[in-house]
Symmetry: C2
Subunit: 220 residues, 2 copies
């Protein structure tokens, strides 16, 4: 199973989300073309992804929506809720704690941690604890996934403590490269970098339009 890469797993989640939407509007059966349209990939990709996980349908009759959702839930381990923690209760950390999108996917933020005593206490929807209690909490509650939402300068130290505590997967919002053991799964969300690359390509596009106005007009 580990052979499937991140993009493939992301597509499986997207197929599942598309199926849930199609089910909500009354679909009972779907074809790989329907899923391909919903996710924006070729139908051959859908069939290829499904074949990796032994997800088969009736070629003529397509897939039964309920059965396929069930199978995808099984493959993706979506049958049981997952508890995670957030370290850093600044702007991003607070937004994540209040973000509605996680809970409907069975992901529950059960605690936030911060070094700032003015932020800790049980005043929010979930406990906000001092970072010194991180290790004990993670071990006690057997947490395996955490989010880093602390400033750059603190990120590596927080990551080290998380890993010592037994955390195996990290979503990192600090715009900095972290040194990690090889068996830790880490994804980065670098907001500055996302915006900067968009700005770069928009500027490049503008230059292109200025340099090649004719081609541009023809294209449109």
């Amino acid at each position: 199973m580990l052979k499937a890469n991140k993009s493939c797993i992301e597509r499986l989640y997207r197929y599942r989300n598309t199926l849930i939407k199609l089910k909500s509007i009354g679909f009972v059966k779907v074809f790989s073309d329907n899923l391909a349209d919903g996710v924006g990939v070729p139908a051959t990709q859908v069939r290829k992804d499904f074949s990796i996980f032994g997800l088969s349908g009736n070629k003529r009759g397509g897939y039964i929506v309920d059965e396929l959702i069930e199978k995808l839930n099984h493959v993706l381990g979506k049958n049981k809720p997952v508890s995670i923690i957030v370290v850093g209760k600044g702007n991003i950390g607070s937004a994540l704690v209040h973000y509605k999108g996680f809970e409907k996917e069975g992901i529950k933020i059960v605690a936030a941690f911060d070094v700032d005593p003015s932020k800790t206490g049980h005043t929010d929807d979930i406990p906000v604890l001092p970072t010194s209690e991180l290790k004990g909490f993670v071990k006690q509650h057997n947490i395996s996934v955490g989010i880093i939402a602390v400033p750059d300068a603190a990120a590596q130290q927080v990551a080290d403590v998380m890993i010592e505590s037994g955390i195996k997967g990290i979503l990192n919002f600090a715009p900095i490269r972290l040194n990690m053991p090889e068996d830790i799964i880490i994804h980065h969300v670098n907001l500055e970098l996302e915006l900067e690359t968009i700005i770069y390509f928009v500027n490049a596009l503008n230059r292109k339009v200025k340099q090649e106005p004719k081609q541009w007009i023809e294209k449109n």
Copy 2:
């Protein structure tokens, strides 16, 4: 220039950020190996990326830090600040408005928009305007990049208005696929999907450890 892909541009930003850090601790000269270490890529990649943009150094003497930062700033268009807008002033939108990371990269959020009248008004650091004023504002201020931080159901409509107004680049936080003209640059930050794939791979890792305990022990 448009031939450089997103990963290449992201690396250029990372080289630049590494250079700024090295400069702050007193570096005057760097070698491609230093940049490679800082960014976590092979030195050959650094030289390859630089050659695409004609960024050359003295092979023996490396690169002069100040000159290289200046050249990268020019390539990346970092010499002038960029004004952007955010649509949706919920948890994520509010966090972005207060996020400190953008301003130091010369990116300024100049206005936020929301349909909810209770959220609009000039009470925040920046004006929060009704979404009905989006089009006029974008045109008047010649904004070309915007962030979508509205719920799924509203995202496509917001995207359409943004594009009609002249926006060319979008960072989308709504976990939904948006239909876009081909000349629009769009990046997605899908927080649910990031966490879900981390959880998937952590679970897969746990299964692997259980199934192959011997190999695991040997590996460690």
